[in-house]
Subunit: 200 residues, 2 copies
């Protein structure tokens, strides 16, 4: 039996640059409990597939885990920014690529136990190469991989970033089903809105 | 070019029940910046596949996103607990099932931008049904789904929990490759240690 927890009290612990933290006292099935909740404005994640079938990946040092990670391009939404716009902006900034074709693959809650963060995962195709425009404190390497190689890297545990695992496995799924092209045909920038009524 | 950020200062902001929060001042390519980092002890995630090919799923209300989510079983590691033990314990507590066969599928960093949380994703098979043992403040529904139906639900955006997306897509991949049985044969509790030298 599921149980909808009601908020009895909410304490603000921290307001920061990327995240806020609050602690809610809630009703649970046997009384009261506390939930620590990270507030996060959400982000856009980009599975960028070139005409030759290669996917664009980025490498960067990630302080929370103290190591360099291989990931798909991604970035947080600016205040009030529409997720599709954020995806196209981040793709351009981090990799230099512009996409003529974008479609929402899925939404993803990375850490539903303590964070409200929601990621919008997009498939971007019909890519054109241009210049990157990193943030001042970003240091990023751009690499291209065949989707089959990336799939193997996920299945072998060589790619450990969650959003990248989902992006690669979904794109591989579309190719394996033979539905990748059909998926794209249902898409494209002009028709975007009618397919994304649930995207704020 | 990647850049390894060095910690210049570390401020402790909050110490809680599930997470801690600190703010590090770090060197970046153009000077200094700040990184807000959620400390989390990590968790175990379980892709539990029955002999009939059905996967065990759980439904529960998740306060951070204010909704009921459909997820694979999972739970955080107890202090000093070995991830494999945590996986078997959580599977038993949340679903009642015991597994005679367990194998590490992959590791997953759900939110590498601001959290050090690391999830160990296991495949559990040879399941035996018993009694659940929920935590006092857990209210969980148990459901079983065919793996092909779960795969469609991920691809259609009906499953939005990140760890569950990865678990389902990886299991579907093993079935699609025809390697699921071979994957299991390389596994089993007695041989576990030699396959998991990198698991702390």
């Amino acid at each position: 039996m599921t149980f909808e927890e009601k908020t009895l009290k909410s304490e603000r612990i921290y307001e920061g640059r990327i995240i806020n933290l609050r602690r809610d006292t809630v009703t649970v099935i046997n009384g009261e409990s506390q939930r620590e909740i990270v507030e996060h404005g959400g982000g856009a994640v980009i599975a960028a597939v070139k005409d030759d079938g290669k996917m664009i990946m980025v490498k960067q040092f990630r302080k929370p885990v103290e190591r360099i990670m291989l990931e798909v391009p991604a970035g947080k939404l600016d205040q009030g920014e529409e997720p599709t716009a954020a995806a196209l902006r981040e793709l351009k900034e981090e990799t230099g690529y512009s996409a003529a074709n974008i479609r929402l693959l899925t939404k993803m809650y990375p850490s539903v136990g303590y964070s409200e963060e929601l990621l919008y995962l997009y498939l971007c195709t019909e890519l054109t190469k241009g210049e990157t425009a990193f943030d001042d404190n970003e240091a990023i390497d751009i690499e291209e991989y065949d989707i089959d190689d990336l799939y193997k890297m996920v299945m072998n545990g060589q790619i450990e970033d969650g959003k990248s695992q989902v992006a690669i496995l979904m794109v591989k799924g579309l190719f394996a089903e033979g539905t990748f092209q059909g998926y794209l045909k249902r898409s494209g920038l002009p028709d975007r809105k009618e397919n994304e009524t649930d995207v704020v």
